[in-house]
Symmetry: C2
Subunit: 367 residues, 2 copies
């Protein structure tokens, strides 16, 4: 690497924030990990050299930690900033950070999902830009944004097991720089200019992983695997992500690659959205399953994402960008099931409901 | 359904042949199941009303069985013929059947893989046409061919669990007819005109499923999951199938749909290719793993498919359709590993080998 050493500030000391610190530190950069007001317990642990409570891996000792009150200090002199907070903390953290960000900084975002601002549902980069401008009414800094997606479980990144991410930005210089900063033997980086494709796939994969988890849970319930149904639902999910990304300006190749197919695969292999779906497939109602997850302090990002995706599609229909829901039957089915729009009639009908939504139908009507 | 009842003859009484008899019989058609000289034991069982030894599901009593000596009788008056024999029996069965096939029949093929005829590697539909012409030197019957792909485990089809197949043919009338014959509430059929895309994906998915199985096995070996690597390899597999299908005249959407993504997902969830890969990932050498599978009477179709795929790519390079192997690093890695072109250096390097092949690299060289 011929690139100079940079100062990288990661906002959010949870699983992904602390994990991303590893490849950046491995590349010799100065890495600062700032924890929100909810992250004190996590920082207490890693500062004592204990494993990070969310990844099970100790923080690299080269990484400097900053507490929530030290935001200005953490950002001062940073050349590259990573926003790695949970989706529901994103707006708050951004508002607090806005006054300390400068136009020459790059702002990368690992947070996934759609964001509601006022009565609009926005993709994450649009939401970030909007919050920054609102926080600094004189215009605010126009940072270059990078969307980070792809199949990256934080615990595997932190453990230096092989992982591939997609770093997407409108500027080829910025994606190249982002790749140089983070890419290691274990953390491979694919460059892309399709921020929208990366973000749409990143947001929706949690919703579809719930559907795939349900298929896995059906086997626990009835003792017989539903592998065909899971695989057909996987293919259907990809086709719907292609459709929705296309409507918003993203490209099919992005969804067919690491950011869509790859991230959906890893999300269906492990993680909280899969577990939540498995519980439903095994016989719990969606509400029971969610309460059980909440009791174990496990947030299920696919649940609010399904609700926001539903509102986003309704918004697209209202604006005339989409005629109706007919190209997105699986998304609608999952959103209806989780949101209560469709009365839950028991696990006995779940396979049929997913099949009706995910499998090709005999007539083109409704698809 | 307004279509008339047809007479469907299925050649091959193994798992897939006996399974496909179910939706056809459910639709009220006359279904004949012909067993090869290797299928007598299977037919003995199902004729006594026992479960089919390969699917665990009894044959529908409406299905008539025919022994290997009754090929002419089984085909006489059939309007739709399904070739559902194992790939290594395909040419033999086709040669025997050729004299009894007629031009007005449709010939559907569930057999998967590439076929070596002389010194050429052919896709299955080309091989079928070639064998039929060779068997009847006056020209032979020009049957309409249908390629059947998609995520269909025979045992799930036979058990009437929801499944989606792709039926592809050059003729829209034929695909529509094929869908009408087989589509049920449980066996959904998507029509396609992209035979090549379906066949390339069907042949290659067994090879890539071995790679995904290796990633699963690594967790058994080391106790730590390699979900990110598996997901990145999945996305890489899809991108390589798109590339190879495109070179041969198939379309990306086919590979991104049920026939590619869907079939790869189900093959990675279960089946012999996955099991074989898992054994390698868990520490057996490729040879040891293959001997163990053979000892359990489990053929691993991905092993010969990897060899044939390697020869096919070399053939494409020789013919100038492809510059070099650079767009297919994962296929090459798996073919080298299984074929001994790369010395096996132990399970310790497997994650690295798959990562080097499947993960994006920092420079475009070699990709």
């Amino acid at each position: 690497m011929s690139r100079p050493t940079e100062t990288i500030t990661i906002l959010g000391a949870g699983a992904m924030g602390s994990a991303l610190a590893i490849p950046a530190a491995d590349n010799g950069h100065e890495v600062r990990l700032w924890g929100t007001w909810l992250d004190d317990g996590l920082l207490d642990a890693v500062e004592r050299g204990h494993p990070h409570p969310r990844t099970g891996i100790p923080l690299d000792p080269r990484v400097k930690t900053y507490r929530s009150g030290q935001l200005a200090e953490a950002l001062d002199g940073a050349t590259y900033v990573v926003l790695a907070v949970a989706s529901d903390g994103l707006v708050d953290v951004l508002r607090k950070a806005a006054g300390h960000l400068r136009a020459e900084q790059v702002l990368a975002v690992t947070t996934k999902g759609f964001v509601r601002l006022g009565d609009r549902i926005l993709l994450l980069p649009d939401a970030v830009t909007s919050v920054l401008h609102e926080a600094a009414p004189d215009g605010g800094p126009d940072l270059e944004l990078v969307a980070i997606g792809g199949p990256c479980k934080a615990n595997e990144v932190a453990a230096r097991r092989p992982t591939a991410a997609v770093h997407a930005s409108a500027s080829a210089d910025v994606t190249e720089r982002s790749r140089d900063l983070f890419a290691t033997e274990f953390y491979a980086v694919e460059s892309s200019d399709d921020l929208i494709g990366v973000e749409v796939a990143a947001a929706l994969k949690n919703v579809y992983a719930i559907a795939l988890g349900i298929c896995q849970g059906l086997a626990e319930h009835g003792g017989e695997p539903y592998h065909d149904l899971q695989a057909a639902a996987f293919a259907r999910a990809v086709s719907e992500m292609v459709r929705l990304a296309g409507l918003l300006g993203g490209r099919p190749e992005t969804v067919a690659g690491l950011a869509g197919v790859g991230d959906l695969e890893v999300t269906a292999l492990s993680g909280r959205n899969r577990v939540y779906g498995t519980r439903i497939g095994a016989g719990e109602t969606p509400d029971e399953a969610l309460r059980a997850m909440q009791a174990a302090d496990q947030t299920v990002e696919g649940v609010p994402a399904a609700k926001l995706a539903r509102e986003l599609v309704d918004q697209l229909i209202r604006f005339g960008a989409l005629g109706d829901w007919s190209g997105l039957p699986l998304l609608r089915q999952i959103a209806d099931l989780l949101g209560g729009q469709e009365p839950y009639t028991g696990v006995g009908d779940l396979a049929g409901a997913i099949a009706r939504a995910a499998l090709p139908v005999r007539s083109p009507a409704g698809r």
